[in-house]
Amino acid sequence: MTDLAATDALPKPPRDLLPVFLPAILAVAMLPLVGSGSSWVTLTVASLAMGMMIFIMASGLTLVFGLMDVLNFGHGAFIAVGAYVATLVLLPLAGWVQADSLWLNLAVLAPAALAAMAVSGALGLVVERVLILPVYGQHLKQILMTTGGLIVAEQALYALWGPQIIPLPLPTSLRGSFIIGDIAIAKYRLLAMLVGLVVFAGIQLVLARTKIGLLIRAGVENREMVEALGYHIKRLFLGVFMVGSGLAGLGGIMWALYREQVHASMGNDLTVLVFIVVIIGGLGSIGGCFIGALLVAMVANYGGFLVPKLALVSNILLMVAILMWRPRGLYAVTSR
């Protein structure tokens, strides 16, 4: 690649950083309200972990929308499918899950996560070809088709696995907490944060450094011009859709382990949360989606602690507040 030293650079416009600091500001503002420092740390860690998991689920949705103006109302199905597929690996290998060895635990978690991502991603391929491509560019039908897809997927899960809740215990070495002084930090939450950060960094790296990433960013701005440069954007889109579905599957297994149970309705429930996150973040923006996920999780955790009654509608209040401030979400994507 040609390396040219830029002899000059245009003055950069001031970067819009306020949303970036929003989660930190919120966390600090909550400290006096929560009172106890140790509860605050626990709540903050819980928020970060939950936020990262929601981010993993939501990232695909927001990218798919940004790139092709397609909103998949059935996105939640990928989450649920990921969780169910994970049980196929985790339940037969319960011995390894229960073994008191981090390596054995990870040796069973990793293939479970990979299987969840692979199956969700493959399902994404089918959904894109069968439900989205035929009604490409027609919003109304897109919403109807993907909602129909969600019903079918949920019912198919009931038919295959039955309507009961499947318990999914955490691997032994991920249970419990690290205790530092009077602060307890759940081990699994740390793992969730780690995975979330890796996914976020990975997406950002791909978008910033690879040609595929450049194509995605260019496509978000101007689909037609990307095609006129000779790239098949629909193939690119299919790829992004499958990766997004796979990530939803990964989010599904993580959420299932977090709740230690699997149920077909989880896709439905999480869809709402994921939608709020991508709306808050600005449809199509990965950074906005990340911040939105953290904010939603923080409001849920702090809110649940401080005003349990309010927790039920806290997400809606957060969404209303953010949209009053920025009607197109924290980071509105240029072309829309």
Partner: protein
Amino acid sequence: MIILSGDPPRSRALSILLIAIIVALAAVPFLFPGAKAMNVASKICIFAALVASYDLLLGYTGTVSFAHTMFYGIGSYAIAIALYGMGPSWAAIAVGIAVGLPLAALLALGIGLFSLRVEAIFFAMITLAVASAFLVLASQLSWLTGGEDGRSFQLPELLRPGTVFVKDFFGVSINGRTLTYYIVFFASAAMILGLLRVVNSPFGRVLQAVRENRFRAEALGYRTVFHLTYANCLAAVVAASAGVLNAMWLRYAGPDTSLSFAIMLDILLMVVIGGMGTMYGAVIGAAVFILAQNYLQALMGVASNAAAEAGLPLLPGLLHPDRWLLWLGLLFVASVYFFPTGIVGRLRGVTRPKS
């Protein structure tokens, strides 16, 4: 013609089907006075009105709302809470209506002003979020709503089955229950005819212009947000009224019968199967769907048992009556794709999709 607002069914087959449905619904108390048939018939009436109000949004303005059951639920709960709290009196019914309908309209106004400026897709997401929050709220505020159990109540004396008007009319007893059924029947019919008038008024034409090309409608000087919000409020009030009828018929309001996401899906299915943007589609969609729901499910049970006895794998699970929605979902996707104009469009011989 006047009563149909100059928008007749425009198809002989469709007219015959509609007349058959209406005559059958009107005659149910005399032909099939059993409790199950009456329940099915009144549910068809109520849902025909509810689906028609949804069609005003989906079919005529092209906006997808997932909050329609919320308004339906507001109507149901308003009447239930009023009758539960004030006792079975006509005043309580009046209070329920006087509180419920304006509340629904106000909420629709708020949502509309807040989110109708944006694209359809945004609106759909926001309504989904709001509706789910409302559902949680209704099941948590148990001191008011009765929580998951909901609220059962008594109707005023006149509307109870014990109030017999004619003891034996050709072998059928005409009582308060019959009267309630006809209130449901005529109120639903009035709402559907009212909506038919709305969509054929100049206002309705503007809505369709907005649906076809919002930008152009705006350029022509229509305040599209005003029109969309107005349509939204109107749909909300009709939905809440349908909710009132529903609660009165069931003498009960709870999350499952008036608020759940499953009802929202039922509404979507009915409007698509019947035919979007036609109003008549609501009547047909509701009739077909609810008849199928009540009578085909039994058939699925038989098939499932037969498959289980034959030792077939997977089929018993897929055919279990509880998996009824699986098949409906497939039917839904297929009808959006292959028959976007629904039954009404088919009968009218329209092959070109409207939107």
